[in-house]
Subunit: 88 residues, 2 copies
């Protein structure tokens, strides 16, 4: 059941960009995080990438994470950071 | 006193890279942060840049921040994140 095994590591997120749209972003690491973890989080993402199909789903960006023993530790901003603030 | 005014916005940091060295990194935003703010923080930095002289000091990397009304809000990792973890 390789395909199902693979899906278990994939998260499909709906991300508010702060640019007036919501985007679907597909990320790895589902084996470490519940979907609820992301609710309300101010995550850091690359949004100026070409869309890419991952596990059959079009992903319109990429979350940034530190790689800690192959577990993604997401870059998360303080809750006071406005949605859509640009990384410089 | 333009030069002194400019220096007041510049921070000189000594950053442990997790690659066996410490680096001097010059960052802006000194008007918003005390040097003590950074002590022990797990900050996110670009380290594969060419060294650059800023305010007369060689900087060997660049801290990442969200730009919030021209104030840098530094990308800071959870204290459990190992020093030197790579961003993916």
């Amino acid at each position: 059941m390789e395909p199902i095994s693979q899906r278990k590591r994939i998260l499909k997120l709906t991300v508010q960009t702060g640019m007036g749209d919501n985007r679907t972003i597909v990320a790895g690491g589902a084996q470490f995080y519940s979907p609820e973890y992301f609710i309300g989080k101010k995550i850091v993402a690359l949004l100026n990438l070409a869309p890419k199909k991952i596990a059959g789903i079009m992903s319109h960006g990429m979350l940034l994470a530190a790689n800690v023993n192959n577990k993604p530790v997401w870059l998360v901003m303080d809750e006071n950071t406005p949605v859509g603030a640009k990384i410089i």
